[in-house]
C-alpha cells in the first residue's frame, strides 16, 4: 500500500508542480480540491433551485428541451448546473486522490475518508438521476443501464427494465421518484459533509473568494459560449447511433454495458470494499513518527493554548488529579494525528508527540548548530524545512550554503528553537513551510506565522531580532522562485552585522512548575 502511496505521491507532485507553475502556490486550485467541491455543491444548489421550478415531471424531455432553448436564462443555467456538477466530481476525485497520496486516510482520518467516499458516491448517483431527468437519449441509456443492474436484486417482482421497453407509456411516477432522489440526495450530502469535517477544528469549507468567483465566472462563460449538449428525446422505438456521454459522472457506462450484471456488481462492490479498506491497509503503527502526542502534567500550566491550536480537536482541558489549581491538557490518542502542532503551541514544552516536543526539538537543535563543537564554518543561514518539502528544493538551498534543519511540520516548530538558532550566531533563520492549503498538519504555516509575528502564545520572544527570522514557502513547481527568494533573504541577512554567538539556553517564559526530584 505504501508503495502505491509513493507512486501516487510522485504523480501528485508532478500535477501540483504544473499547477503551481501556472497559478502560483497561493492560487493553486489543486490545493483547494476539497473546498472547490463544496463551492460547486453550493453552485449546484443555486442553479438547481431555478431549474426545479421550470422542470415538468409530466413532460421531462419537452421541458428540458424548452429550458435548453431559452437563450436568456434556461440555457446557460442548465449548462452551468451541468458543468458545476462535472467539476464537483472532478474536484472530489482529486481531493480523494490527494488524501490517499499524502497518507491522510487512516487512523483519526478514517471517518473523513469513509464519509468522503460516500459523498463522492452520492454525487455520482445524484448526477445519474440528473441526466435521467433530462430524458434524452443519454438519460434513457443511463436509466436502462441502472434498471438492468437493479433487476439483478431479488427485491422487485417486475423487472424495472420493462419500464423502458416501449410496450406501455412510462409512468410519470418514475420521473417523480427520480426527481425526489435528485433533490433528496443533496440533503443527505449536506449531512455527510457535516460528518466529513466533524473531526477537524475550524474546517475550511470554501476556497478563497478569488478562486471561487474565478471558477464560477469561467464556468458561466463556458455555459454561455459552449452550452451543454442535449441529445434527442428518448424514444424506446429507436436505437440512437450515438449519445452524448458525460466523462465525469458516467465514464463507466460504456464499460458496464458490455459486462454481465453480476460482474458489474462484483466489480463495483470489490472496488468499494477496496476503497473502504484503504484506512486499514494504509495505517501505520502508532509509534515513533506516528505516536500520538502526550502531555507532561508536571509542565502543563493549564494555559489552554494547545486545545485552541490543535487542528483535530484532539486536546481537552480536564481537572488535575493533584492539588494545583489549574486544569491540565489531555490528548485523545484516537483523534490525534501526530501532527505535532501542539508542540509548537506549548511555551513550557509540556506537550507533543514523543521525541518531538519543544525540549526534544531544542536537543536536536543543539546538535544541529554544533554547540558541542562550535566552528566558524557553521555560521551559515539556517533553513528550517518541513520534511514534506520537495527534496530537490531542499537540496538547492543546501547547495546555496544553507544549513538545513528538518522538522516534521513548521507548525511543529517551537519558537525557542528559532531563538536558539538566532542567538547561536547564525546570520539568520529561514523557516521553509508548505503552502498553507497543502499542509498535512492542516494549520502549520498559519500558526507559525501567528507565533512569529502576531504574538500568539508560545510566541517568538521580543528579544529575538526579527530581521534574522524569515519565512518562505517551498512548493513543487516553484523551485526557481524559492531559490530566488532564499537568495534575496540571504543577501538581506548579509547586510546585517554578524551577531556574536551566545552560549545561551533560551529562557522559557512559562517555566515549568518546579517539581521535586522525588516526584519524578
Amino acid at each position: 500500500m505504501q508503495t502505491l502511496e509513493r507512486g501516487t505521491r510522485r504523480l501528485l507532485g508532478a500535477l501540483d508542480a504544473a499547477a503551481t507553475r501556472t497559478y502560483g502556490w497561493r492560487w493553486n486550485p489543486l490545493h483547494q480540491s476539497g473546498t472547490i467541491a463544496v463551492a460547486m455543491l453550493l453552485a449546484l444548489l443555486a442553479t438547481g433551485i431555478y431549474l426545479v421550478f421550470v422542470y415538468r415531471v409530466g413532460a421531462p424531455s419537452a421541458s428540458v428541451a424548452r429550458i435548453a432553448a431559452d437563450p436568456w436564462l434556461g440555457s446557460w443555467i442548465r449548462s452551468l448546473h451541468r458543468y458545476t456538477s462535472d467539476l464537483f466530481i472532478l474536484a472530489a476525485a482529486i481531493h480523494f486522490f490527494r488524501m490517499f497520496a499524502q497518507a491522510r486516510s487512516w487512523g483519526p482520518r478514517r471517518l473523513a475518508w469513509v464519509s468522503g467516499l460516500m459523498l463522492l458516491g452520492a454525487g455520482l448517483v445524484c448526477a445519474w438521476t440528473g441526466f435521467v431527468m433530462a430524458w434524452d437519449s443519454f438519460g434513457e441509456r443511463l436509466a436502462r443501464e441502472g434498471a438492468r443492474l437493479l433487476d439483478v436484486l431479488p427485491v422487485l417482482s417486475e423487472p424495472l427494465s420493462r419500464l423502458f421497453a416501449g410496450d406501455r407509456a412510462l409512468p410519470s411516477a418514475f420521473f417523480f421518484v427520480n426527481l425526489f432522489v435528485h433533490i433528496g440526495l443533496p440533503l443527505a450530502m449536506g449531512a455527510l459533509l457535516w460528518l466529513h469535517v466533524s473531526r477537524v477544528a475550524r474546517p475550511v469549507l470554501l476556497p478563497p473568494r478569488r478562486i471561487t468567483w474565478t471558477i464560477v465566472g469561467v464556468l458561466a462563460l463556458a455555459a454561455v459560449l459552449l452550452p451543454a449538449p442535449l441529445g434527442p428525446a428518448a424514444d424506446p422505438f429507436r436505437l440512437p447511433a450515438d449519445t452524448p456521454l458525460n466523462l465525469f459522472s458516467a465514464w463507466w457506462l460504456p464499460l458496464t454495458e458490455r459486462m454481465p450484471r453480476g460482474a458489474v456488481w462484483s466489480g463495483g462492490l470489490a472496488a468499494a470494499l477496496a476503497f473502504l479498506l484503504v484506512p486499514r491497509l494504509a495505517r501505520r503503527p502508532r509509534v515513533d513518527r506516528w505516536a500520538p502526542s502526550v502531555v507532561d502534567p508536571r509542565l502543563c500550566t493549564g494555559c489552554n493554548q494547545c486545545p485552541q491550536d490543535c487542528p483535530w480537536d484532539a486536546i481537552t482541558m480536564v481537572e488535575r488529579d493533584d492539588d494545583r489549581p489549574t486544569l491540565v491538557a489531555l490528548v485523545d490518542p484516537v483523534r490525534c494525528v501526530s501532527c505535532g502542532i501542539c508542540a509548537g503551541s506549548c511555551a513550557p514544552m509540556g506537550v507533543g508527540p514523543p521525541g518531538r516536543n519543544g525540549r526534544d526539538q531544542l536537543a536536536a537543535a543543539r546538535v544541529a548548530i554544533g554547540r558541542e563543537h562550535p566552528a566558524a564554518e557553521s555560521r551559515a543561514v539556517i533553513a528550517v524545512c518541513c520534511s514534506q518539502a520537495p527534496e530537490s528544493q531542499v537540496e538547492a538551498l543546501r547547495a546555496m550554503g544553507a544549513q538545513v534543519h528538518a522538522v516534521t511540520c513548521v507548525g511543529n516548530l517551537h519558537s525557542s528553537v528559532l531563538e536558539m538558532f538566532v542567538r547561536s550566531g547564525a546570520p539568520g533563520v529561514v523557516v521553509c513551510g508548505c503552502p498553507p492549503r497543502d499542509c498535512i498538519g492542516r494549520e502549520g504555516p498559519k500558526w507559525l506565522h501567528e507565533r512569529l509575528y502576531n504574538d500568539r502564545e508560545a510566541e517568538l520572544q521580543p528579544r529575538v531580532d526579527r530581521r534574522r527570522v524569515r519565512t518562505m514557502t517551498l512548493a513543487p513547481g516553484a523551485g526557481t522562485a524559492a531559490r530566488a527568494e532564499f537568495d534575496a533573504i540571504a543577501r538581506d541577512f548579509a547586510l546585517l552585522d554578524l551577531p556574536a554567538a551566545e552560549l545561551v539556553e533560551p529562557d522559557l517564559v512559562c517555566e515549568p512548575v518546579p517539581v521535586a526530584e522525588d516526584d519524578r
Partner: protein, 222 residues
C-alpha cells in the same frame, strides 16, 4: 514584469482550456449503436395458467373444517410453464422456457428480451405454448364443470348455506374468482406469425395484449 505577464497569459490560457475541457468532457458524442442496427424487442407480462385438480368437498369434510376455512372447492396443482420460440425468416433465434415469478412460480411471467435483426422485411414467428400435457387441463376443466355446474344448476344456495355454513355469496365469489383467474391467465398457446418491415435504427416491440389474449406489435407509444 514580462514574467508576470507570461504567467498571467498562461493562467488565462490554462483556465480557458480547463473550462473547454470540462465542456467537452461533459458531452462527448460516442457511438452507441451501428447505423444499420435494429432490434426485435419482446416485452410482456401475464399470469401463468394454473393447472389444478379440483373437487367439491363433501358436507362431512366441510363440517370438519373451521368455519372461516370452508371452501366448496378444493384444488391442488401448480402453475403452467411455457415454451417460447422465436423464428425469424424460418430460423430459430430464441428458444426458452418461461415460468411464473416468485418462489412458487405463482407470480406473473415478466419477459423482456431483445434480438438483433437486420433492417428489411422479415417473417417473424413468436410462439408461446404451454408445456404441460393437455390431459391435466382437461381433467381440471372437467372437474370444474362437473362440480361447479352441478351446484349452479341444481343446488339451492340457501340450502348450501344451511348445510355447510358456506353462504351463497361466498360460493359465488369462489366461482367468480376462479373464472377471472382463468380468463387473465395465459392461454394454452399464443402465436404471432407476421411480416415486419424493419428500418435501420428501429426497435420493433412485441407485447402480449391481455384483452385479445394474443401477441401484438406495438405501433408506437401508447
Amino acid at each position: 514584469m514580462s514574467r508576470n505577464l507570461g504567467r498571467s497569459i498562461a493562467t488565462v490560457v490554462v483556465s480557458a482550456a480547463a473550462a473547454v475541457g470540462i465542456a467537452a468532457g461533459s458531452g462527448v458524442a460516442v457511438p452507441f449503436h451501428a447505423e444499420d442496427a435494429a432490434r426485435l424487442r419482446l416485452s410482456w407480462s401475464a399470469r401463468p395458467e394454473r393447472i389444478e385438480q379440483c373437487r367439491a368437498l363433501s358436507e362431512e369434510e366441510l363440517a370438519l373444517r373451521p368455519e372461516h376455512m370452508r371452501q366448496r372447492m378444493e384444488c391442488e396443482g401448480g402453475f403452467a410453464t411455457y415454451a417460447l420460440e422465436i423464428d425469424i425468416d424460418g430460423r430459430r433465434v430464441e428458444d426458452a422456457v418461461l415460468t411464473g415469478g416468485g418462489v412458487r412460480n405463482d407470480r406473473p411471467i415478466h419477459d423482456l428480451r431483445e434480438l438483433a435483426i437486420a433492417p428489411g422485411e422479415h417473417r417473424v414467428r413468436v410462439s408461446l405454448a404451454r408445456r404441460e400435457a393437455d390431459a391435466s387441463g382437461e381433467d381440471r376443466d372437467h372437474d370444474r364443470d362437473e362440480s361447479g355446474g352441478d351446484r349452479d344448476e341444481d343446488h339451492d344456495d340457501d340450502d348450501d348455506a344451511d348445510e355447510s355454513g358456506i353462504s351463497a355469496d361466498r360460493a359465488q365469489r369462489e366461482r367468480t374468482e376462479r373464472t377471472r383467474r382463468q380468463r387473465t391467465a395465459l392461454p394454452e398457446s399464443v402465436l404471432l406469425d407476421t411480416s415486419l418491415l424493419v428500418s435501420p435504427g428501429q426497435v420493433v416491440v412485441i407485447t402480449f395484449d391481455p384483452a385479445r389474449r394474443r401477441f401484438a406489435v406495438v405501433p408506437s407509444l401508447p
